[in-house]
């Protein structure tokens, strides 16, 4: 049986990038609505 590949770094990177994009957009909406 083949060993499970060790590639958790890619997984962590994807999870961080996704959180950054979603939180960043939420903050952008918040700042734009506060400006008005």
């Amino acid at each position: 049986m083949p060993d499970v590949p060790h590639n958790s770094g890619y997984m962590v990177a994807a999870y961080i990038v996704t959180a950054a994009i979603l939180v960043g957009y939420a903050l952008s909406l918040y700042r734009r609505s506060e400006k008005r």
Partner: protein, 225 residues
């Protein structure tokens, strides 16, 4: 409670639940034996892809109804949905290559699914640029509706591209005519994540709609002054 506040609350709940999805995906969902931990990118990539495509479909539907009814609420919804869709398309186009590198051995390949998804992202950008470039509200809404309808026509092609062409991208294992071929625990994590992304879409659209409404009211005040 105003629409913007409701949207903000839903977004905050969505982001909180996203943290729980992270915990479930990373700690309580089994590791796929062949792909390893990188397979867990699936739980973010797929819901983001579904909403990137659905958001464009809704932009197109709102565009069709706008052309008949001339209701500015439809145009505001289309604008809000397009911006949220751009964000989800951005998630798809970053998580995809990060997943592709360890599994396919390359960050990117010009196959039908990847190329058509990139085209969807450019369509979103083009849609937002077009709206930003036109001052006349009615003209902006009409042009936006036409471009949105073009984008809507692209969505089924993106979904079917893995069947129509020989691609490196795998075929759907959940959104297909037969039963999902995913173990129960993985399917539950995927469905939870999809629910959270749905909540985020709703929260984003409500907030963006409120912004568009405020802008329209400001423009109207400016026109009367």
């Amino acid at each position: 409670m105003s629409l913007a506040r409701k949207g903000r609350l839903i977004t905050l709940i969505g982001l909180g639940l996203l943290a729980l999805v992270y915990v479930r995906a990373l700690a309580f969902t089994p590791v796929e034996r062949l792909q390893g931990p990188a397979q867990k990118i699936y739980y973010l990539h797929v819901p983001a892809a579904i909403w990137a495509e659905t958001a464009m479909f809704l932009v197109g539907l709102a565009g069709i109804f706008y052309l008949f009814l001339k209701d500015p609420r439809l145009d505001r919804f289309a604008e809000a949905s397009a911006e949220a869709g751009t964000v989800f398309a951005g998630v798809v186009l970053t998580t995809g290559p990060i997943w592709g590198k360890p599994i396919w051995g390359t960050w990117w390949t010009w196959d039908a699914r990847l190329t058509s998804t990139l085209f969807l992202f450019f369509l979103y950008i083009g849609y937002l640029l077009l709206r930003g470039a036109i001052d006349d509200g009615a003209l902006r809404a009409r042009y936006g509706a036409v471009l949105g309808i073009c984008g809507m026509c692209l969505v089924p092609f993106i979904h079917l591209s893995v069947y129509l062409f020989r691609t490196l991208h795998p075929q759907p294992i959940v959104l297909k005519p037969s039963a999902p071929s995913l173990p129960g625990s993985m399917l539950v994590t995927l469905l939870l994540s999809f629910g959270v992304f749905t909540l985020l879409y709703v929260g984003f659209v409500m907030q963006r709609y409120a912004l568009a409404l405020a802008q329209a009211e400001q423009d109207e005040r400016g026109a009367h002054a």
